[in-house]
Subunit: 447 residues, 2 copies
């Protein structure tokens, strides 16, 4: 009952071209009379009511309504939700005079999942793009999560975030990714019981290949893509290879949570607060072969090895502590680290839209082409990066690589090369074969 | 293994009085040698390692260490966690020159729950108190949620929020609430199968009576208390009556989520964006007897009844839509509305620390003594409030109460009076008896 009420309410909206007062009642009546019939014939039954309502409305309020040419195109198979179907014109609005006049459109896959449940509210609150940047959220779910996605949209409605001006929900990436300037690819299949890493690579690889093709076709040509779903480096590579229209350097695999954890562990060991730790790199794959770099990291501007004199700890315990953090957390907390993962996604995005502090850098899994460290360029590899805050970045050169680091980075590189061979069929290459280096290198807490 | 490593790391900390370099190794060794023996004799076994480490450290680094008189007192049975055990002096720190020099200390009960899992990160990010206000979080869990609480603290560590300077975890409210300037009381027992509302009132009433006594004894004398755990109005009344040292007007029961939902529904119906809706009051109890007020509410500055001419909808469907929202959401989403509840707690807090926009108001369940609407003053009743942003508020007088509103407000008042009689034994009154008005008035999705 209440759901039906909400649905019928969602039919009402306002465009800057229309007079609300003259159309209000008509709209309501007209909508209700066509609602049930229309939804049955829609492709995505039950999801297109807002779309239909909006189309219907254009006819009803004909006096001041925009011509079809003027009306913003609405994708099929993806729809605005509830109050977010209200059309407005940021340029004409009185209220947010200091706001930027163009929305940032962020598409999120796995939008009904727990990481997104933290992340979406952060983006909506202005935490990523600032208090003057209105945002649109395009939420991608699956057939199975459709209802949950509506629940997420309802909670976003109830949060009354002024900056959140549009929410679109859908299950077709070709619709949901349309015009996205950011794509946060969080959704991935978790590994089932007895599933090998190779199987997971293939199953998720298929998803990211399809999403890459969709991004290639419908997203903004300069869309920034952050891949969170695991195995994220190789998923990002697959996605990138399937989206040739989008610059390769726009694809990122999230290693920021690893960086944040590494910073915290160094701070703990040194007995300082975490904001005194800088220049931490995660090299390589987001797996147990990842290399948290204490050689180039700094504490209060001094090399870590000068401040932390327990080098045995650095060499033997620091890395496993960072890597097993997720597993320890699951054990204590009973759930995976959704909240801090979401925080690290926000950090990763902010690192691209805010200038990197002078002398510092951040880690991101990026396409390694032309990297100054001799790493195979045809991989998505976590490297030290810095940004002017324009959404772009450069790989920071000149870090010191000693024998300890070199050996470990090489191992992570070998793993990523082996993963690439496993997914050759998904990146347009031939002669693929799957022979991953020994042992399971999934990070604990992510299986 | 990793947990043990983290624990031993947590022993190291730095005070502004000490030279890190000269003490680092000593601290580490000293701590490890005393760790296992000491924790066994501690009252809250396994929880006091940071406390012990801190005490130990004062002896070890004696040259520059503060005298016991200088050292900040650490409560027993509640402890700093991990990197948050680092002692620092905001006044002396170089970095945050523009920051306020005094922490805001926020205590949160039910800190390992899902609402807190959203809320804590918002507070830590500066969303409530602003980007220049460092914060401390004192997290209260239960015997059962101890480990989970450590998990929460770990995620807060990994989030590297610069403003979050202290995290204390514990299970004893007399320790965790110490010096709190805000107490967000979220933890409450959920209603089990077959449990009557009267049983729930008693079970949770006991908890809030105990927490009120603890606040009375150890919290800041001007602590602001926001009660979220249900039945929140009567829980807030119980808490207040058990904390006579704290001003009665400092106690709030959360009805902000109801207000937010009401605003959104009015926006949807009117076809406007939610930021055009103002002056929405929730009157009464946070239950199905609550009264979302469309009579005094405004859309674009005009009375709602002028803008929404479908008065039948306002009178018959608006209120149930607001009230059943949580239930609809659970059905769709499979979980309760933790994210938007956390948002509404943030809103409620911000409404007290930021001036209310001129002419507007917000809803909060407050002690009704001296209210200008003739409502029983000895209740915690949701009323229209406004604030100068100093943490305090006043009840807004002069709202128009018509027959429709009056009857409904009366019903909610009657319910709260009946609840008060049920909990007479918890608020120092005699002749209590429990005879709640007919029907179950728990909000759907909160049982």
């Amino acid at each position: 009952m209440a759901a039906a009420v909400a649905a019928s309410q969602a039919a009402l909206f306002k465009s800057p071209f229309q007079s609300l007062d003259s159309c209000d009642e008509q709209k309501s009546v007209k909508f209700r009379s066509t609602f049930h019939g229309s939804r049955r014939i829609s492709k995505a039954a039950g999801w297109s009511r807002h779309l239909l309502a909006r189309q219907q409305h254009r006819i009803t309020c004909s006096v001041n309504a925009p011509s079809p040419a003027q009306a913003p195109p609405l994708p099929k198979g993806a729809e605005c939700y509830g109050v977010f179907c209200v059309i407005y014109d940021l340029k004409e609005e009185e209220k947010p005079k200091s706001w930027k006049k163009k929305l940032v459109r962020v598409a999120v896959s796995g939008a009904a999942g727990t990481i997104s449940n933290h992340l979406l509210f952060k983006i909506a609150s202005g935490e990523v793009f600032g208090p003057d940047q209105p945002v649109a959220l395009n939420l991608l779910g699956s057939e199975r999560s459709k209802e949950a996605l509506e629940g997420v949209a309802m909670e976003l409605e109830d949060s009354l975030y002024p900056l959140l001006r549009e929410v679109i929900i859908g299950i077709d990436p070709y619709e949901v990714f349309r015009d996205a300037e950011w794509a946060l690819l969080i959704g991935a299949k978790p590994r089932g019981p007895g599933m090998e890493r190779a199987d997971l690579l293939d199953i998720n690889g298929q998803i990211f290949a399809a999403q890459g093709r969709a991004l290639n076709e419908v997203a903004s040509s300069n869309v920034k893509v952050v891949v969170v779903g695991n195995p994220c480096n190789t998923n990002a590579l697959i996605c990138m290879k399937n989206a040739p229209r989008i610059p390769s350097k726009n694809f990122h695999a999230l290693t920021r949570l690893d960086e944040n954890r590494a910073k915290c562990q160094l701070a703990l060991k040194a007995g300082v607060f975490y904001d005194n730790v800088s220049n931490v790199t995660i090299w390589g794959n987001h797996s147990t072969t990842q290399v948290p770099d204490f050689l180039n990291a700094k504490i209060n501007g001094r090399p870590v090895k000068e401040v932390i004199t327990d080098h045995k700890w650095l060499e033997e315990q620091f890395t496993p502590t960072v890597q097993t953090r997720g597993g320890v957390l699951i054990k204590k907390w009973g759930r995976s680290s959704a909240a801090s993962t979401a925080v690290s996604i926000v950090d990763a995005m902010k690192s691209l839209v805010q200038p990197t502090p002078p002398g510092d850098w951040f880690s991101s899994g990026v396409y390694a082409a032309g990297n100054p460290y001799g790493i195979d360029g045809d991989l998505v590899f976590s490297l030290p990066c810095r940004s002017k805050g324009d959404g772009d970045y450069e790989i920071v050169p000149g870090l010191h690589i000693d024998k300890y680091l070199y050996e470990r980075i090489k191992k992570s590189e070998d793993e990523l090369i082996a993963e690439r061979k496993c997914v050759a069929h998904l990146i347009g290459e031939e002669n693929g074969f799957c022979d991953l280096p020994g042992g399971d290198t999934m990070l604990p807490g992510e299986q």
